[in-house]
């Protein structure tokens, strides 16, 4: 099998992993003339976008799509009839370097089906990174998938070479993982995440320690995970609660939500249905509210509930808490402003800087990049005050809903 054909099979097998980030790592470049590559300061770089709207930043492939496991939701499960392939270590290294030189990618995201044993698989994955870093002095971004329960020494080595490590939690609840992936052990996954956090903490401590010893390097872009949404019956509250727990417990940089998507040769045990892309989008919005806007899970969605699909979760929260509005934009605190529908973190910073020098008026909203129709019912400006009956009106929500048409998914 030639490399191109392998690439087709092993990229196809990797496309269900939502992670694509190349951001948040240490700054490096190759200006010393030895080797090649750099990491982008600040945000990562997306080199292309696929028609599914997702960014292509890394060469995202599996080392092999052969797998011992038979997880129902996975296209690579042992009982799937998909064609199988396996890259050699050198093939992945060469493809990464060749693509990188042409500026197609920021680096490599390498995952693998589990073959032989977790240690064997992890060793193969680490070998690629080792070769890129030590033989080719590659300074680009490397994201490695961690195999649960792999040996501690292999995990430490993975963290030495990789910018980011990830291990997918897969399902929001242990019961669904048992149902869909009987051979996967959520405890093993959590234990591995815990070990990664301990190593991340250690590396952080060694960086801040005032010793002359070279700081220990371990995955400077942290760890991330992915949850499949919509394959089991878990509601949004359960999903977000699991995320909050993961963020708090393991210092994850990101939880990715992947709407369960029809896969070729799907197992009969799985329902085939259109992907709930809008639900996935709402979950990402809710996740942002938790990470950057100071919201608790319980505020975003109550027990047993789902996020509304027709309006975003912050607007839904504001409509449930109308007694807190309208807020005076020229006086309210940062925390309060962050809760106004349509106000992003950057807009709030701009507002706070601006109002030190001048009063904010209605006409200024556009220059602050705030969507008027969303924010106006909830705010007071020096020349705007919403009519009291309007904020209390039962029909207020209608103002924000999309026009009554069939919900489309861009087909």
């Amino acid at each position: 099998m030639d490399v191109q054909r392998k690439l087709e099979i092993l990229a196809d097998a990797a496309k269900y992993d939502a992670s694509c980030a190349s951001s948040g790592t240490e700054q490096r470049d190759s200006s010393d003339g030895k080797g090649m590559g750099s990491t982008a300061p600040g945000m990562g770089i997306c080199h292309s976008y696929a028609p599914d709207g997702r960014c292509i930043s890394l060469l995202k492939v599996l080392l092999t799509n052969a797998c011992n496991y038979d997880c129902l939701y996975c296209v690579n499960r042992a009982s799937s009839n998909v064609p199988r392939a396996r890259f050699t270590i050198d093939e992945v290294v060469k493809l990464t370097l060749d693509f990188y030189r042409r500026n197609y990618i920021e680096g490599l995201f390498l995952s693998s089906g589990i073959i032989r044993s977790p240690d064997y698989t992890m060793e193969q994955v680490v070998s690629v990174a080792r070769k890129l870093r030590e033989e080719h002095h590659f300074r680009g971004y490397i994201h490695l998938k961690t195999i649960p329960e792999a040996d501690d020494a292999l995990i430490a080595e993975a963290g030495k070479y990789a910018d980011r490590l990830s291990i997918n939690i897969e399902m929001p609840e242990e019961t669904s993982l048992q149902q869909f992936a009987p051979e996967k052990d959520v405890r093993a996954i959590r234990r591995t995440m815990g070990r990664l956090r301990l190593k991340l903490d250690e590396a952080e401590d060694s960086r801040s320690a005032k010793t002359k010893a070279k700081p220990q390097r371990f995955a400077p872009a942290g760890q991330s995970t992915q949850m499949i949404v919509g394959a089991d019956g878990a509601n949004d509250h359960t999903i977000l609660r699991t995320s909050a727990n993961l963020y708090g417990s393991y210092r994850l940089r990101r939880v990715y939500y992947s709407a369960f998507s029809p896969i070729p040769d799907a197992s009969r045990a799985l329902p085939l249905r259109a992907p709930p892309l809008l639900r996935e989008h709402r979950l990402y919005q809710a996740d942002w509210l938790m990470r950057f806007y100071g919201f608790d899970v319980g505020e975003i969605v109550d027990d047993s509930a789902m996020l509304p699909l027709d309006i975003d979760p912050k607007l839904a929260w504001a409509l449930r808490h109308r007694d807190r509005f309208p807020l005076d934009v020229n006086r309210a605190s940062r925390e309060e402003l962050l809760r106004v529908p349509g106000f992003g973190t950057k807009a709030v910073e701009r507002i706070i800087a601006t109002r030190r020098a001048t009063t904010i008026r209605l006409a200024d909203l556009a220059r602050l990049h705030v969507p008027r129709h969303k924010a106006l019912p909830f705010i007071v400006l020096s020349d705007h005050r919403p009519a009291p009956h309007r904020l209390d009106a039962a029909g207020l929500i209608e103002r924000f809903k999309p026009k009554a048409t069939q919900l489309g998914f861009g087909f």
């Binding site: 490399v3 191109q4 990229a11 196809d12 496309k15 470049d29 190759s30 003339g33 030895k34 080797g35 770089i45 976008y49 696929a50 028609p51 599914d52 709207g53 997702r54 292509i56 496991y69 042992a78 009982s79 009839n81 693509f99 030189r101 042409r102 500026n103 197609y104 044993s117 329960e149 051979e183 052990d185 405890r187 959590r190 234990r191 070990r195 727990n245 963020y247 708090g248 417990s249 210092r251 998507s261 029809p262 896969i263 040769d265 799907a266 197992s267 009969r268 085939l272 259109a274 992907p275 892309l277 701009r350 030190r356 020098a357 001048t358 904010i360 200024d364 220059r367 861009g410 087909f411």
Partner: protein, 480 residues
């Protein structure tokens, strides 16, 4: 009217010098006309530009934020940019804080220009596609790019740092950048026909692009927002976007319509991963069983069961409250700050930690996630009760002479009922099964005490309590 001619489209230093002089001479923005050497002739411009006005002695400061914004905004393609920047500078001279007013039209416009320039720079970093000329060692990499603004000089250092070990050129209609492995250089713009036509890897890249795309999630608008069509003509993968979109619906439909095939017969698995070793003895069997405990809901959020540890023939069993953050991650009891406190106190009391069995009343960590930390929560009675079976079975396996309950939760577990620490602390109490119990505080209580004096005092009391255990241990040494 002052006529200022700048050397190039990106002549920030020239603009700065002229602008500073104009401001100091109080020349109002409406009285200045800005042009660029070799650019389109200004309709009413005199054949020769005005001489730069002599700078007076005076000087003035502007914030670094304005300088940053201006350096970027001056690269914008709008021919009005020099005038707009001058207008803002003129106003900033008397109103230094104006730059923070995001709602001011001039500030907003300059900010928007700077943002457009940085976005174009970012897109250049992303969408430049090098094509290889020659092979291997003698290879030279050449790209054709069409930036919207005058950003080549701004964007080039990024490529020099990234591709330091290969010679490259980026050709644009505006300006061309070159890297020879040592230094950057720039030459005038060229036409697209001078750029190489293709690269041997582009077909491979297109195959990757087609394979990584999930046809069941078509979101063409989202793609175009981030990768506007104006960039497509120089992206090798763009040629297959249309066919991919057209084919997506058909493929997804076919995928859904197709009945699932009979499962492929899995290959023989040489070894089942993640299987545990069979337990070596009773205590190990107990530990293994406890790892799967679902007797209360605490297992759900915790990482793992943190079971007791220590020699099987220990005469003393220490019982704590529940594992903390560190214990939960590591999987061993008393390894965090409270554990270190306990180690120190044990040593001072004359007890070797290696000789005692250490466990907790509740074996899963109970917490509330708060952002990036986990707030420790006290276990509730149902949880203590649900977990008590493990404590009881540990006692039967170890058969200790003395059980030290550290804190109220531990005491509740050891005595089977709520037992205040204050009343029972510091003396040996007979248990129904003939063992002795000793109640003391939990070491984390010592960590929470305010003030070094209270801390030292309570720590000493804790050590005294442990000395009772030490005395008992010496009296009844167990045969190994």
């Amino acid at each position: 009217m002052q006529y200022i001619t700048l050397d190039t489209e990106t002549d920030f230093d020239g603009w700065r010098k002229a602008a500073r002089s104009l401001v100091l001479h109080h020349v109002t923005p409406t009285d200045v006309t800005w042009t660029v050497q070799g650019g389109e002739a200004e309709l009413f411009a005199p054949p020769a530009p005005s001489p730069i006005l002599e700078v007076n002695d005076g000087t003035f400061n502007v914030s670094a934020k304005f300088v940053d914004l201006a350096q970027a905004a001056i690269l914008h393609c709008d021919p009005e940019r020099f005038a707009i920047l001058y207008r803002l500078l003129f106003r900033l001279k008397d109103n230094h804080d104006l730059i923070e007013v995001a709602t001011d039209p001039d500030v907003a416009q300059v900010t928007a220009m700077a943002r457009a320039v940085h976005r174009d720079e970012h897109k250049m970093h992303a969408f430049v596609r090098f094509r290889e000329i020659g092979r291997e060692r003698a290879a030279h990499y050449v790209a054709w790019f069409e930036p919207e603004h005058h950003i080549v000089e701004l964007a080039a250092p990024f490529f020099a740092k990234r591709f330091a070990d290969m010679p490259w050129s980026i050709l644009t209609p505006d300006l061309c950048a070159h890297w020879d492995g040592h230094a950057l250089s720039f030459t005038p713009g060229v036409s697209k026909s001078e750029a190489p036509g293709e690269d041997r890897l582009e077909e491979t890249w297109r195959r990757y692009y087609a394979s990584i795309f999930n046809p069941a999630r078509l979101k063409v608008k989202a793609m175009q927002t981030e990768m506007p069509k104006k960039y497509w003509r120089n992206l090798p993968e763009a040629s297959i976007i249309k066919p991919l979109i057209e084919d997506a619906e058909r493929m997804t439909g076919a995928m859904i319509a197709k009945a699932a095939a009979d499962p492929h017969k899995p290959q023989k698995r040489p070894e089942a991963p993640m299987t545990r070793k069979p337990a070596a003895d009773d205590l190990d069997a107990l530990r293994e069983e406890a790892a799967h405990c679902r007797a209360c809901p605490l297992y759900k959020d915790a990482t793992q069961t943190v079971f007791g540890e220590g020699p099987k023939d220990a005469t003393i069993m220490l019982v704590g409250e529940q594992p903390g953050d560190k214990e939960d991650l590591v999987g061993h009891p008393f390894v965090g700050p409270a554990g270190q406190m306990l180690d120190r106190a044990l040593e001072e009391a004359g007890v070797d930690r290696k000789t005692v069995y250490v466990t907790n009343a509740v074996k899963h960590f109970k917490f509330l996630p708060r952002g990036k930390i986990r707030l420790h929560q006290k276990p509730a009675t149902p949880e203590i009760k649900a977990c008590r079976q493990w404590y009881e079975r540990e006692v039967s396996a170890i058969q200790p002479d003395l059980i030290v309950a550290m804190g109220a939760t531990a005491a509740q577990s050891v005595f089977g009922k709520i037992t205040p620490v204050g009343k029972t602390r510091g003396r040996l109490i007979d248990l129904p099964d003939g063992r002795k119990a000793l109640v003391t505080v939990h070491p984390s209580y010592l960590l929470r005490l305010p003030g070094p004096e209270a801390k030292a005092l309570e720590y000493q009391r804790f050590v005294e309590d442990l000395k009772i255990a030490a005395a008992l241990q010496k009296k009844t040494p167990r045969a190994a």
